[in-house]
């Protein structure tokens, strides 16, 4: 099924979309490009500004399309870029079985699938095709800059950075004051009123440019209330203690990228990729799980946990993206259990974990290798990261052979096969998770509870419970 460039012009909402699409219509930006055997569907994954690639799909019969990016433009530049590559045969669209994520989208589509139309209809509020020009979009605009402007901009950036630092330090003073108040008023009262109190200090931190720390404090009540009531005072001390440690760490080294990332804002994708200290790992990865959480600050966090199946490089990677809840449901980027060969760039850190996906390809052998064995003693696995980064909340761990056991109240515990270690499991566990040996278990150790992401069993790989 063919598509011509005229149709792409008509589909684009404006000239800037076309311009952006021109930059994306390059094979290097894409992976997993394919088309259905009947040629009606095309899809691909495009590297965006986030950690996860965007999944882009289009139906060439009626130009219905979908992209997992948070853009409010419809179609977005990624869809236009994909269609552009198809129209100009920039890259081969290998015929393949329709991936499940494309089928899922087909099942949810609102508009008329299966109704061939000669030309796509542009929405009424869209500028006519004549106002948009593909050729113009492809031309690079010359960038000439006055050296004085550059110097001025650099000076402004330094001043901005200093202002931000001062604002953060003021906000951290307020935070420590607030923590002291909570202790004075009693943790019992704090636990009862945690949501409102945390919201107030989080708002102050947002004003003080400590947005990441604000988000963390907004989610603190959720983590606290997930603990059994008897464990909440301990949990509150651990949570608030980490905040003190983080605040003190910032005061000591305010320019440390890792600490700044935990308090203010993460570096951009471009900055991470350009940083010579960035650790890159090209390995075979297995998608352990995807966690999507709507946060109190109105953002949705999408966390993809990956397991490195090779011997070298960090054992785990975490791809983290945020997007506004108002843009609606966003499709999953990966399917749990999926394996791929990929290059990841890790944000510079003492414990590299958060990463960006730079490039990916299908794993040559989807079944091998098996999950690696856990490399160190379990106690060290659980506590090691806390010695390097005491404010860490989530620690991914690979557990040796074990099994779920239940206490009298039905709460699950993970117990190692040798019986030496028994750890509480968050939430409930039921079905297969409780009825078979877990030969290897990938889990998050957080707040002294395990959240199981996935496990290998004699029944094959099984997903966790949360």
């Amino acid at each position: 099924m063919a598509i011509d460039l005229k149709a792409i012009e008509q589909l684009a909402t404006d000239q800037s979309s076309l311009k952006a699409a021109a930059g994306l219509a390059k094979p290097a930006k894409w992976s997993g490009v394919g088309a259905s055997h009947d040629g009606a569907l095309v899809w691909g994954e495009c590297a965006g500004s986030g950690a996860n690639p965007y999944r882009v799909m289009a139906d060439l019969r009626d130009f219905g399309n979908k992209c997992t990016c948070p853009s409010r433009k419809f179609p977005c530049k990624h869809v236009l870029g994909l269609l552009w590559m198809k129209a100009e045969k920039v890259t081969p669209f290998a015929p393949a079985d329709t991936p499940a994520w494309v089928s899922d989208w087909l099942g949810r589509r609102r508009a008329g699938a299966g109704t061939p139309k000669a030309t796509p209809k542009a929405p009424a509020n869209v500028a006519p095709a004549a106002a948009k020009d593909l050729r113009a979009a492809q031309q690079d605009e010359p960038e000439v800059e006055d050296p004085k402007d550059a110097a001025r901009r650099e000076a402004a950036a330094v001043k901005r950075s200093e202002d931000t630092e001062r604002a953060i330090l003021d906000a951290l003073d307020a935070l420590e004051q607030w923590i002291g108040d909570q202790l004075r008023m009693g943790l019992s009262a704090f636990i009862d009123d945690a949501t409102a109190r945390c919201r107030r200090i989080a708002a102050r931190l947002v004003d003080g440019k400590a947005a990441v720390l604000a988000g963390r404090i907004d989610e603190l009540p959720g983590r606290l209330l997930a603990l059994p009531p008897g464990d909440r005072p301990r949990g509150a001390v651990v949570e608030l203690g980490k905040l003190v440690l983080l605040a003190r760490a910032f005061r000591t080294t305010p320019r440390d990228a890792e600490i700044r990332r935990a308090i203010a804002v993460a570096e951009t994708r471009e900055a991470v990729l350009a940083n010579p200290q960035t650790l890159r790992a090209n390995a075979r990865w297995e998608v352990l799980a995807e966690q999507v959480q709507t946060r109190r600050d109105g953002l949705v966090s999408q966390t993809t946990w990956l397991l490195n199946l090779d011997a070298s490089g960090p054992r785990f990677a975490m791809l983290l993206d945020f997007f506004p809840a108002s843009v609606g449901r966003r499709g999953s980027v990966f399917t749990p259990g999926e394996r791929f060969q990929g290059e990841l760039a890790f944000y510079p850190s003492r414990q590299p974990l958060r990463a960006l996906l730079v490039a990916r390809a299908d794993a040559a052998d989807a079944t091998n290798p098996e999950w690696p064995a856990s490399e160190m003693a379990l106690a060290d696995t659980l506590t090691g990261p806390l010695l390097a980064e005491p404010w860490t909340i989530d620690i991914p761990v690979l557990l040796p052979t074990g099994r779920i056991a239940l206490d009298d109240a039905g709460h699950p515990w993970w117990r190692s096969a040798d019986g030496a270690t028994t750890l509480p499991v968050a939430g409930d566990a039921e079905g297969l998770l409780c009825g078979t040996d877990l030969q290897r278990t990938a889990a998050i150790w957080s707040g002294n509870r395990l959240t199981i992401l996935a496990a290998q069993t004699s029944w094959g790989r099984i997903g966790g419970h949360g």
Binding site: D38, L183, V237, G241, K242, V244, R248, I404
Partner: protein, 471 residues
């Protein structure tokens, strides 16, 4: 050192919980905390938080219960490559009926679900027998019972307690097939000790191989069981043996609603005419009497045999009467009468009531009826699926009128992605593997994309090896 810190933590936590200063209770860190009280509290908080987060984990209770391994079933789980399809179908069709049909389909083709996709609960009576070990596992998980039972080969009154409930029901069905007398003897000894929810499915096992030898036992149940449903089932089984318990006056009154006339000139035949149904009250009364009657008694009151009654019935004239009669036959008729009624019903509009009878028909007969109704009565695939269940293997269903209707519906303008979902699922369920492959080609030709999720059931059918026993 750690012990001393640990000992201090109790007092520190208590003080902070209540809102008093805790630094004075942490003498072990006095040097680190310093003299300034507010600062000392924050430092103590940082140190305590790190200690409690790293060194203190919840103490497991001394007794933890480990559930037994989920047993392997006699049929394999679906191949790994098809698990995502099964998962998607289960997610798309959440209603109990569709799920049961998919499970029947898989079992009929010689497969089971993977336990990560679906497992029955202990009370999932509709799950195919092959899942009995998983039902019992779920029962063990829910019961706090750690005792493992070892089931013997053949069920007896002595080893009754060695079987978990679902396995016991399957063993009883097997015993009934091989040795009906022995199965009844076991029930005679053990049925009364079970609760009503268990007694009902156990007693229903007697429906297979029902004989006059069962009458005394069933009469005892019908007369004295504590549960009305169990009594009703025993009465229904007795009625199938010609031992209806209908009250004579009621039967006489019911017979008054029908008259037997002769019709035809050359070939004279009987025909039932409906009488005294001019008012809604009369219709209600007739329905109530039919609910408590049995077919043998009604036929006798009309001086007919049950077979003659069904033959003479004036189908398609009175829908309420048709529905009531099919219900009456399903409940109290012999197997052969059920088959005869199903054939009679399938000739006309009353075929809509066939679903009442199909649970009592063998799967091969159900498939034949579904095929016939698709061709002759223009049934939809969904209606054919209701008749055939999940175990049919129809060849070329798409060439039936329902196929033309479906293709036309998919080709019309403005069709939505969710349109014809039910029909496509039903088609995928009733088609043979070869027919499913053929249908996929035709539907792709009609404009449906290969990846269209509405085709999931057809795709599963087409991809799954058919290893099941053919009826």
């Amino acid at each position: 050192m750690a012990e001393a810190i640990y000992d201090a933590m109790g007092a520190v936590l208590t003080r902070w919980t209540m809102g008093s200063a805790a630094a004075p209770a942490a003498a072990i860190w006095s040097a680190e905390l310093g003299a300034e009280p507010a600062e000392a509290e924050l430092r103590l908080l940082a140190l305590s938080g790190q200690f409690l987060g790293v060194a203190v984990t919840a103490e497991p209770p001394p007794e933890l219960r480990v559930l037994p391994d989920i047993p392997a079933l006699v049929l394999p789980t679906v191949p790994e490559t098809l698990r995502p399809l099964v998962r998607r179908i289960l997610a798309a069709f959440k209603d109990t009926q569709s799920k049961a049909e998919l499970l029947d389909f898989l079992a009929a083709r010689g497969w089971t679900t993977h336990p990560a996709e679906w497992m029955p609960t202990a009370n999932d009576d509709d799950a195919p027998d092959v899942y009995a070990p998983w039902r019992d596992w779920a029962g063990i998980a829910a019961s706090n019972n750690v005792v493992q039972r070892q089931a013997g080969d053949r069920l007896t009154a002595e080893n009754w307690e060695d079987f978990w409930p679902a396995a016991r029901k399957v063993a009883l069905a097997e015993l009934r097939r091989r040795d009906p007398e022995a199965a009844r003897t076991v029930l005679e000894a053990k049925l009364a000790s079970e609760n009503a929810d268990v007694r009902l499915p156990l007693l229903s096992q007697l429906a297979a191989g029902l004989s006059e030898a069962d009458i005394p036992f069933l009469e005892g149940i019908a007369a004295s069981d504590r549960a009305p449903k169990v009594k009703a089932l025993a009465a229904s089984l007795l009625a199938r043996l010609g031992q209806g318990t209908a009250v004579g006056d009621d039967i006489a009154e019911l017979a008054g609603f029908f008259s037997v006339k002769m019709k035809g000139v050359l070939r004279r035949s009987r025909v039932i005419q409906f009488e005294n149904v001019k008012t809604p009250a009369q219709v209600h009364r007739r329905a109530a009497l039919l609910e408590s009657a049995d077919i043998a008694s009604l036929a006798r009151a009309l001086s007919l045999s049950p077979q003659e009654l069904v033959d003479a019935w004036n189908w398609d004239e009175d829908r309420h009467a048709d529905a009531a009669l099919t219900g009456l036959v399903a409940r109290t008729g012999t197997d052969s009468l059920v088959a005869q009624t199903a054939e009679a019903v399938s000739q006309g509009d009353a075929s809509f009531f066939l679903a009442t009878l199909t649970p009592r028909l063998p799967s091969g007969h159900r498939s034949e009826l579904a095929e016939k109704l698709l061709r002759m009565r223009s049934f939809s695939f969904d209606m054919a699926k209701t008749i055939a269940g999940g175990t049919a293997r129809l060849d070329n269903p798409l060439t039936a009128p329902a196929g033309a209707t479906l293709l036309a519906a998919l080709r019309r303008d403005g069709v939505k992605p969710s349109d014809e979902l039910t029909e496509l699922f039903a088609l995928g369920l009733i088609a043979s593997r070869a027919a499913a492959r053929q249908a996929l080609e035709q539907l792709n030709g009609a404009g449906l994309l290969q990846g269209d999720p509405r085709l999931d059931m057809l795709r599963l059918n087409a991809a799954l090896d058919d290893n099941g026993a053919k009826p």
